[in-house]
């Protein structure tokens, strides 16, 4: 029987080792797998590389992992924000490395990584500091730079509903990076509001096919 349901957040993240690379879904406060992040913080794993749009939001999202020095490197698009003060302090103290990526390029690198595409040429970033050191090539008269696909050991995604085959649907703007992150994580763990029976999701409405998801876990309030 194919059953991807895991019965606690702690169990879902138990095999994340030091030095792991993790894709973390969410944009601002929407669609962030807060439960998985809290479970990972409790588990104690360190030297992580995180891939996430933002750099933490006040004391939530990935900020607690950064605050407790679990993150060696962050790949993100929006590190400078009033709410990312924890990241800012750690970055200026030299305690965390940053790879800055334009948002559309980040999304496409993850989609490519999850799709077996090792690299692609994009016009985004040409003539800017993100192009430094990258291969340049004019294609159909458009100057482009080479960007590589991104994969990770794990993907932490947040969805509204999931079933035991791993099929997922999302909640409005909480979809954001979650679907392609599920594709690009060797082990994609989906934190869901509710688990439904097989057949409970209309096949026409499934957003992430279960093939991209390895574990489904119902959210818990670990801070409650």
């Amino acid at each position: 029987m194919l059953n991807k349901i895991v019965y606690s957040l702690a169990t879902a993240v138990a095999d994340v080792r030091d030095g792991a690379t993790i894709l973390v879904g969410g944009f601002g406060g929407a669609g962030v797998p807060e439960g998985l992040i809290t479970a990972l913080l409790r588990q104690g794993t360190k030297d992580l590389t995180l891939i996430h749009n933002n750099a933490g939001r006040d004391e939530t999202s990935i900020a607690p992992l950064i605050k407790h020095d679990r993150v060696a490197k962050l790949i993100c698009t929006f590190p400078e924000a009033k709410t990312a003060y924890i990241f800012r302090d750690k970055f200026l103290a030299g305690k965390i490395k940053l790879e800055l990526v334009p948002q559309g390029t980040l999304a496409e690198r993850i989609r490519a990584g999850g799709s077996g595409i090792e690299g692609f040429y994009t016009p985004t970033g040409v003539g800017t500091e993100v192009a430094e050191g990258k291969d340049r090539r004019e294609i159909n008269g458009v100057m482009c730079i080479l960007e590589y696909g991104l994969r990770a050991d794990f993907a932490f995604v947040r969805a509204r509903l999931g079933d035991r085959w791993g099929n997922l649907v999302y909640n409005q703007a909480s979809r954001n990076f979650n679907p392609m992150m599920a594709m690009a994580g060797k082990i994609a763990i989906a934190e869901v509001d509710d688990v439904v029976e097989l057949g409970g999701l209309n096949p026409e409405h499934v957003v992430t096919p279960g093939i991209f998801v390895q574990r489904v876990v119902k959210t818990e309030n670990l801070n409650g």
Binding site: F78, P79, E80, A81, Q103, G104, G127, N176
Partner: protein, 224 residues
């Protein structure tokens, strides 16, 4: 004219002027800050579809107090609503829309623009950190890029310059500039002054603009 006191436009007035240039049926992406205000001034009888990089097309105004949904936010992390017909999609599809030239107009903030339409708007000169977010992809990909900004810095230095000194966002992308004192087109032969704020002459605008402005006739006064 000579008797009209010089009256620079307020932020809301710049936003109102920009909104007049949205054609009926246009798909528009509004950047964070002053550009967002343009949504409040859509001329009567025009239907505009707003795109947000985090995966929304066809979103509407802020919800009533008490009806905010943390899963329904725009790129500025502000609460929004969905119009009938609006839809959600993931971040890679969202940037396929912008990078793939499916969005008609993007309105972005600006720090500097030059006569070729190169834009700087993501990082202050000399800062340790800046946030790219979606700016590089959107500036590169929208069919038209409108820049909304004050004409000079708060020290009175021109923001429309011969060469950018701030970190670049994208090359040859800006099509029109809206400031508190002028509307300027970026044409194949450089900058064309189209309109001025009440009480300003073309010479007044030229005095605070580094590159040479051309104009076919004495520019029209912006209606406010």
């Amino acid at each position: 004219m000579a008797n009209t006191p010089r009256t620079p436009l307020k932020r809301e007035q710049i936003a109102r002027r920009i909104a007049q240039d949205f054609a009926d049926g246009a798909i528009v992406n509004l950047g964070i800050g002053m550009p967002t205000l343009a949504a409040n001034y859509i001329p009567a009888g025009r239907e505009i579809l707003f795109h947000s990089e985090n995966g929304l097309l066809g979103f509407g105004p802020a919800p009533e107090k008490g009806k905010e949904d943390p899963n329904l936010v725009n790129a500025g992390k502000e609460f929004v609503t969905m119009l009938p017909g609006g839809c959600f999609f993931h971040q890679a599809d969202s940037f396929s829309m912008t990078r793939g030239k499916h969005v008609d107009v993007a309105v972005l903030g600006g720090m500097q623009v030059n006569p070729r339409g190169d834009l700087a708007n993501w990082k202050i000169k000399g800062a340790e950190l800046g946030s790219i977010g979606g700016a590089m992809d959107i500036a590169r990909g929208a069919k038209q890029v409108f820049v909304a900004m004050t004409h000079t810095t708060n020290k009175g230095e021109p923001k429309i310059v011969n060469e950018l000194t701030y970190p670049i966002t994208a090359l040859k992308c800006v099509t029109r500039i809206y400031t508190d004192i002028a509307v300027i087109d970026v044409g194949p032969k450089g900058l064309v002054l189209r309109e001025v704020a009440p009480g300003y002459s073309a010479a007044d605008v030229q005095a605070v603009t580094e590159p040479k402005l051309t104009y076919e006739k004495e520019p029209a006064v912006i209606a406010i």
